[in-house]
Each structure stands twice: as C-alpha cells, then as structure tokens.
Amino acid sequence: MNQERVQRRGGSADQVYKGVLAAAAALVFVFVALIVYEVARGAELSIRTIGWKFLVQTEWDPVADKYGALPYIYGTLVSSLLALLMAVPLGIGSAVFLAEIASRRVGSIVSFVMELLAAIPSIVYGIWGFFVLAPWLRTFIEPWLIANLGFLPLFRGFPFGIGMLNAGIILAIMIIPTIVSISREVLLATPATLREASLALGATKAESIGVALDAARPGILGAIILALGRALGETMAVTMVIGNTNRISLSLLDPGATMSSIIANEFTEATGNLYLSALVQIALVLFAVTIVVNALARALVHFATGGRRDAAGAA
C-alpha cells in the first residue's frame, strides 16, 4: 500500500520517464523497418525486370545488362558449409575441453583468447589470409592435395592459394569463437546429475561427456546455426581471399565469389540503375537468408538454455 502511494507521488514524471525509454526502445523497430524498406526499394527495379530467374542464372555481365546471382549464392553456401565442416568438430571439441576437462585456470585463459579472436576486425583476418595463409596454401597444402587427393573433383586444378578453400579456412577461424562460447555455456547448463548418474553406472569420462553432449544437443545446434549466419554474411575477409571470379567450380582450389564479396567489390562502381538494383537484390537475398538462419538459431539457443543465454552474449 505504501509503495502504491509512493508510485502515485512520482506519477506523471514516472510516466514521462518510462515513455522516453520506451520510445528509445521502439527505435529498434524503426531501424529494422528502414533497412527492410531501403533494401526492398533498391531491389525493386531488378526484381521487376529480371524476376525470379535472377536466382538461377549464372551470367553476370553489366555491359550487356544481364544479371544472374547463382554463382554468388553458390559461393556463399559452399564457403560457409566448408567453414562449418572445419569449425564444428574443432569448436565442439574445444567447448567440451573448456567445460568438462580443463582446470578453471586453463579454461579462463582459453576463453580469454577466444574473446580476443572475436574482437579482431574481419579486415585483419582478411589480410592475414591474403598475405600469410594464401602463400602457405599455394606452396604447401594445395600441391599436396592435388598430388594425393587430385582424383576427387574437389581438389582438381591449380594451386592459386586464394579461392574457396582459403575462404573456408578463414571463415572457420572467425566463427569458431561463436560455436565455442555458446556450446560451452550450454554444456555448463546441463545438470551435473546427468554426468554423475552415468559415471555411477560405470561409464568412462568420455561416455559421461557423451551423455551431457546429448542433453546439450539443441543448444549446440543453435550455436552452429548462429555461426552459419555469421559466415553467410561475412564480407571483408572473404572478399580478400576468395579471388572474386564469377564462376561455379566444383574444385575448392578454384577462386569464386560470394554474395557479400560481389557487393563489396562492385557497389561503388555500379553504373546504371539495373546494375545497382541487381546488387541491392543480392543484398536482399542475403538479408532474408540470414534473418531466417538467425531466427532459427536464437529459438534453439533460447530453448536449450531455458532463456538463460540470449543473443547479447552470443554476438
């Protein structure tokens, strides 16, 4: 009753204060709406002129005003999946190490290193991939792959150094911190009784970790999808190491391009309305894909941790 009176005393000022804060919060909707509106408006011309064939055509020829986004969609998907292929086992392994095996001291050191990794600007990953990783791939890794695994179409071709493989590795390095930090959190959130029960039944350490992993599966899946969302949208690092050629090649050694890299490369040079609009339409496709992927991931992480862990920490 007392509190009621107190609240009434500050009544109108309270309403104003709360209103101002709520208005600031509502600005988030405005920003998202503006992004959607601007991107949709920019892509309108291209959508009307080219239509859905935009997504399946492979030709990208600004001179002839022909635009097809398939090579870029392909490049985005392949580089991201390649990154997941490397990042998922390593990331989950590290998360298990941090949550279940490492001492607290080692765990905190490795976690700190992960945070550092996440704070490095993507352009820095890009120049590392371009100046360090690419020569290294060109002289050591790729010739070896061609010599020993060249019978697979994946590893045919010429060791360029830059290309799909390089982009996949750089992306993997960039998304591992996301996978590790969320998976670790999810593992720590699983009840200790799971491990205790399995150990009591005679399970080995690895087997009891397996039980915990099983319980953490939805959350870890969410972490992986969130990481996928980051990989799909990553621009600068990929632009520097993928080679930027408009072609679909089965070989991972060949250069390619992604949706984000074509925008980064050509947007400022785009002359002609349709050209610019086609680039904006690529941004629209990328936007839609990442929104869906992220929404899915966040729902999974939220579900798995009972809402304890949200996007703020996940980003």
């Binding site: 609240q7 988030v28 503006l34 992960m114 703020a312 920490g313």
Partner: protein
Amino acid sequence: MTPAAHAPPAAIAVERAPWEDRTPAHVRIARAIWNRVAIGACVAAAAVVVLPLGLILWHLIAHGLSGLSWEFFVSMPKPVGEAGGGMANAIVGTLIIVGLGAAVALPVGIASGVYLAEYGRGRFAGLVRYTADLLGGVPSIVVGVAAYGLVVLPMGRFSALAGGIALAILMLPTIIRSTEEIVRLVPQSYRQGALALGAPRWRVTQQVVLPAARSGIVTAAMLAVARAAGETAPLLFTALGNRFWSVQLDQPMATLPVFIFDYARAPYDDWNRQAWTGALVLVLLVTVISAVLRLTVRRIQTR
C-alpha cells in the same frame, strides 16, 4: 520379526558382487582406449583453435611493427610511387565516424537497455528484444546497402554522416542487450531501499540503479563501439574513403579499415607494408579504446 528375515537368501548363489564389472576384457580395453582418444581429441581441438590466433597476432606484429612510426600517425598518404607517408587522415576519420555512430547509438541503446531491464516484462519488451537480436544478425554489408539508400542517395554524395549512421545501426543491438544484462545485475535491494525512502521510480532508476551499473554499462558499450570501429564493409559505400584531409561530415572521409583494404589489394609492396601497419594500429585502437575507458570509469567510481 520372524527369524527368516535375518537368514541369508539361500536360493541365490553369489559368486561375484553384483557391482563387479562383467564385461569381457576386450570391451573394457576398447572403452578405455576410446576414452583416452576422445578426451585427447578434445584437448587437441582446443590447441588447434588457439593456434591461428597466435599466428595472426604474431604476423600482425612481425609485419606491422616495422612501419610503425610517428610519421605513420601524423602524415598524409603519399601519391603512388613515393615511399613513406602515413594514415593521419584515416585515423582521424575513423575516430570521427565511430564517434558519430556512438553519439547516435549510445543514448538510444542505453535507454532501450534500461527500459528492457526496468520495465521489460510485457509483450512489447519481448518484441524489442527479438528485433534487437535480429538486427544484430543482419550482415554489416546489408546495413551498408541500407545506409546508402537512406543517406547517400538523398544527399547525392558519399559522406561521413552515412558511415556514422551505418555504424550506429551496427552498434545498437549489442549496446541494448548488454546494458539490459548489466542493469539487471543491480541488486533488487537498492531499488527497494530507495523506494522505501520515498523516491519515485524514475529517480530510483536514474539516481540509484544507473550509477550502480555505470562502469558495467560503459565497459559493455565500449566493446560494441570498439567492434564497430573495425567494420569495413558498411563504410565502403557510405564514407567511401578519401586520400585527402577532410573533417567535413557531409563529405567522403577516409577510415582506417577501408584504407587497409585498399592498400592491401594494391600492387605496391610499400602499400602492402602500410596495410599491415594500419591493421596493427586498428587492432591497438580497438583494444586501447576499451581499455582506457574501462580504467577512467573505474577511477571516477572510486573517487
């Protein structure tokens, strides 16, 4: 009590204790080996994951340090072919554009975060949270495209302002969610105490809760700002870049990330070297900004 209750059950011939392991030896050995292998693999994975960071930092220092000089910070880029020069305009440009973005994003983001923490129970708050998370997942290049349509097209030219707005949108989600998290950490007893003394709610939030959460908010916000300072993609077609000195907000402006990108792709060794130095400076800037702010906040608090 009947005597039978004490008698051992004669029917069961206990040869071994029931908890004794009866699995065949080869299964036990296989499990032991698998245990070692699985745990070893996890340790190895952690080692492999830490390795690239070490390599990146090492190369950053090895390649970047040689070009790090006073000149790099105070002089302008030289024309193609002339050696030397610095990135003074890009460093100042980055500070201006990031400052601009922070000036927009910090008040909005912190106010939203405080709203979510103090009043955020309803459906509206849930929607704000979800939207902020979605905004956080939008690729930075898409934000750049939107800022281009929003600011560059109406203005008719690339400008620092457009870059600042793009960065503000990128900072916002992190600031909102981390502010919320930190304000929530302020003990409930602070609020109850102040309310009991007769303070209205807005004063409780403004004068009790916020000062208590201040250092945490600043730290988290600075992390968001520092991360935005490293963004390149949204600046490519908003602030564009500029080889000359400019501090005008309605003109194209040089920024460190875009400079690094351009110099790294250029076919001149000297420019490539400068790209490494620029990258080193950028990483230092990103870490130093947040470290310095953290320290000053702590000092203000202890005073």
